[in-house]
Assembly symmetry: C2
Homo-oligomer: 283 residues x 2
C-alpha cells in the first residue's frame, strides 16, 4: 500500500499501476475517522476492481463557519492501518494547500439540490462537496466511485454532478451500516457522551416508525412527519433540524409516500447534528 | 473522419482509436463558423497529437438574454469540410438536449475572473463557458487542449478551471490570427457590413497605438487607455465597451504596464460587439 500526498505523484503511480492492462480503479473518498460504513465501501471496491484508492481529506470547503472543522476526528494512524488491512492499494492524503493553493477560484454548484434539506442548514456545504469530489475524480480517474447511503443527499448531488458534467465513472451507493440498536454509523458519533449516545437512537426509531406507518397503509407524508416529530420531541436531548419526505431525483417534497421515496432527517443530539434516512421499498 | 453526435459513442470511438497504444488526443472546442484562427488550432493539434478531435457546439449556456444565440452563424457543411481537409479524426456534434437534458443542474463558477472585463458585460457567460468545457473534457479526455488568444479571458478562465479542478490536460493557447489590415479573425465578423468592416480595424489600431506608446517608454496605464479611447471615439460607428490593462493571472487592473500585461478591449461596431487584445512583450 502506498500513501501519497502529492496529486501528480498519485497520477503517475496509478498510471503505472494500470499500465497497458484493462485494470479498473475503485475509489472511496473519505474524510477519515473510518468506521464499518467506510470499510464496507472499501470491501466492495476491492471486490469490483483491480485497484483500490481511498482518499482521506477533511475538506475545509464543505464546513461552514461555526461548524466542526477544527474538532472533526483525525485518527490518521488508525485509518491507515484499517486501509492496509482491507488491501487498499493507494491512500491519497493531500493537504489543504495542495488542494486549494493560493489563487484557487473554481467551485461547482449543483443548483437547487444543494439548497434543500441539509443544504438549507449548511450553506456552501454541497458546493464544497461537489468541488472536492470533482477534483478527486480528475486526480484518481476511477472507473467506480463508492458512496454511502447514510449521506443520501450527498450521494444524489454527486451522482447529478457526475451525470451533468459527463464524468466517466460509475457511482455505487452502498447501504447504511447501523449499530445493533439502530443508530447509523457516523464519524460524528464520537462527539456523543453516554447519555447522548442512548438518545441518538431516536433518529432510527423515527425512521422505523415511518416505515411501520407506511407498511400499515399510511401514505400521507405530513401525517408521517408529524408522528416522527412527536416521537423525537419526547426526547429532551433531541432537537429536530428537519424531517423530509422527498423524491430521490429532485429532492422534491411529496404529499404522498411512494415506492422509492426518501425519508430523511437531521436531528441535533445535544450539540451534535446527526443525519439518517431510509428509502421506502415497493409499496 | 467520423462525425459523432452522441457522447457515449464518441467515448467508445476514441477509446477504440487509442486502444492499448500511447496515443495522445488533441482537442479543439469550437462553436463552428470556422476561420483561419480555428484552423490554426487544428493544425497545431494535428502536429502535436496522434488523434485530433474537434467539437462544434453553439453552447446556449454562454449566451445571455438578448445576445446573438439565434443569429450566430452555423455553416455546418462548410465547417465539416474544413475539418476533413485538416485531417481531423473526430468531430463531436452534440445537440442542446444531449448536453443539457431535463433536470440538468450543474454549473462551474471560476470566481472573480468570470465577473471582470467581458464577464461584467455578459453575466453568466463564463459560467457557461467553464461548464461546457468541463463537460467536453470529460467526454473527449484529451491530452492537449487548444485555445485561441483572441478570447484571452476565456483562455485564462479555462486554464484556471483546469488547474483548480485538476483536469489532466495541457492547455495550449495559440496567437491571434489577423486580416492584413489587422482586424482579428472572428466568427462574428460576418455580422459587419462593408462600412462597419472598415471601422472594425479600430480595435487593432488602438492596440497598436498602445504598443507604440509602451515601446516609446509610456508605462502609465490610464494614459495609455485614454489615448486608445480617443482614437476609438473618433470613429462614429465604434462604441467602447471596455478597455483594460490587467495582469494575466488575476485580471487585476494595473497602474503601470509591465512585461506580460494584457491589454484587452471590447468595442461595439454598429450592433456587433468585437473583442481583441495584446500581451506586452519584454519591456
Amino acid at each position: 500500500m502506498q500513501v501519497i500526498r502529492d496529486p501528480q505523484k498519485l497520477i503517475l503511480a496509478l498510471k503505472k499501476s494500470k499500465a497497458g492492462k484493462n485494470k479498473t480503479i475503485g475509489f472511496v473518498p473519505t474524510m477519515g475517522a473510518m468506521h464499518t460504513g467506510h470499510l464496507n465501501l472499501i470491501k466492495q471496491a476491492a471486490k469490483d476492481n483491480h485497484i483500490v484508492a481511498v482518499s482521506i481529506f477533511v475538506n475545509p470547503q464543505q464546513f461552514g463557519p461555526g461548524e466542526d472543522l477544527k474538532f472533526y476526528p483525525r485518527p490518521l494512524k488508525k485509518d491507515i492501518q484499517l486501509c492496509r488491512k482491507q488491501g487498499v492499494d493507494f491512500i491519497f492524503l493531500p493537504d489543504n494547500k495542495i488542494m486549494y493553493p493560493d489563487g484557487y477560484s473554481t467551485f461547482i454548484n449543483v443548483g437547487r439540490l444543494s439548497h434543500l434539506l441539509c443544504g438549507a442548514k449548511r450553506p456552501g456545504h454541497f458546493r464544497g462537496v461537489a468541488t472536492v469530489v470533482a477534483k478527486l475524480l480528475n486526480i484518481v480517474k476511477p472507473d467506480n466511485l463508492y458512496l454511502g447511503q447514510k449521506d443520501a443527499q450527498q450521494a444524489i448531488i454527486i451522482s447529478r454532478m457526475i451525470k451533468d458534467l459527463n464524468f466517466p465513472v460509475k457511482v455505487n451507493v452502498l447501504p447504511i451500516v447501523r449499530f445493533k440498536d439502530g443508530l447509523a454509523l457516523s464519524s460524528r458519533n464520537t462527539y456523543l457522551n453516554k447519555n447522548e449516545r442512548t438518545s441518538a437512537v431516536v433518529l432510527f426509531k423515527a425512521l422505523r416508525l415511518a416505515e411501520i406507518l407506511v407498511s400499515n397503509g399510511q401514505r400521507n407524508a405530513n401525517r408521517i412527519i408529524s408522528r416522527m416529530s412527536q416521537l423525537i420531541e419526547k426526547n429532551k436531548k433531541a432537537k429536530i433540524d428537519y424531517i423530509a419526505i422527498v423524491n430521490q431525483e429532485q429532492l422534491k417534497e411529496m404529499k404522498k409516500v411512494k415506492t422509492g421515496s426518501l425519508i430523511a432527517l437531521a436531528v441535533k443530539i445535544g450539540k451534535t447534528r446527526l443525519i439518517d434516512n431510509t428509502i421506502i421499498g415497493c409499496i
